[in-house]
């Protein structure tokens, strides 16, 4: 999962050929790796309008927020529970930052159609990075070890950073650029914390 996200970063940075090895080292060793649902998909298509990307980011933040909340509830260790809860709280704040950028761009105080109507998506279904349906990811997570859940979370964060870097390049307003930069920095911090938690488990 981390490797898909890595390959997406390389593609963004202009690597012509970047391949992720399916199933990672476990598959290399002949073990069957159980990935999350629809794990073949990853990065964000380049040809979207900024407002659509903002709406998409908002939807993905909401999905991540709910995913982390649920993971926090499932953890027995207090440190892990607190980590997931903090991540969830941050993603909730990111939704407000994104809406603020949208308001700045459109001049609208409120918009009942945001974000779903901008993308012609049904409301009521939550999504994660790659278009993974939240409920399927939660189902998948049920039988997984913490290590695999952290691995999946790392890939969510890498893709979030990827999206914010692209958006920062795409928008013209200096204020929006700054907000996207702040968002990608916060996601980098999440990535660092998740990586550290993962590292601790592997010892």
């Amino acid at each position: 999962m981390r490797s898909r996200a890595a390959a997406a970063v390389l593609s963004r940075e202009g690597f012509k050929e970047a391949y992720s090895m399916e199933g990672g080292i476990r598959a290399w060793n002949g073990l069957r790796a159980a990935g999350p649902p629809d794990a073949g998909m990853a990065y964000f298509g380049p040809a979207q309008k900024p407002d659509e990307m903002i709406a998409l980011a908002w939807i993905l933040e909401e999905g991540a927020c709910k995913f982390y909340t649920e993971m926090g509830k499932r953890q027995k260790g207090p440190d892990e529970a607190a980590l997931f809860q903090e991540l969830s709280d941050d993603e909730e704040k990111h939704k407000s930052s994104l809406f603020k950028i949208y308001q700045g761009r459109t001049g609208k105080d409120g918009d009942p159609g945001f974000p779903h109507s901008l993308l012609s998506l049904e409301s009521g279904v939550d999504y994660l990075e790659g278009g993974v349906v939240l409920n399927k990811a939660l189902e998948w997570a049920q039988g997984q070890e913490l290590r695999d859940i952290l691995d999946f979370s790392v890939s969510l964060e890498v893709n979030a950073i990827d999206l914010y870097i692209k958006m920062e390049r795409k928008v013209e307003s200096g204020e929006a650029k700054e907000i996207f930069q702040a968002l990608s920095n916060q996601e980098r911090n999440h990535l660092k914390r998740l990586t550290e938690a993962h590292q601790t488990l592997t010892s």
Partner: protein, 73 residues
């Protein structure tokens, strides 16, 4: 439009395809990157793989030649 229209698939290779590629191509002609943590790397990695944990990838891109095929795992 469906949600999937907003995402592009990442190219993936099966372990067999990677095995075959590594056997046939000279190590100077590709990048093989282990994006896991240093501890996982120590516990075992693919022959010749270079360790760049995914969290460091953005800042360490210069270590890779972007004109060469690059395999991540």
């Amino acid at each position: 439009m469906g949600i999937m229209d907003y995402f592009k698939p990442v190219d993936t290779w099966s372990p067999d395809k990677v095995r075959q590629f590594l056997n046939e191509v000279s190590p100077q002609d590709y990048n093989l990157v282990d994006v896991r943590t240093p501890k996982e790397y120590e516990q075992g990695h693919l022959p010749g793989a270079q360790l760049i944990p995914v969290a460091e990838l953005e800042t360490r891109l210069k270590e890779l030649d972007k004109t060469k095929p690059t395999i991540t795992y």
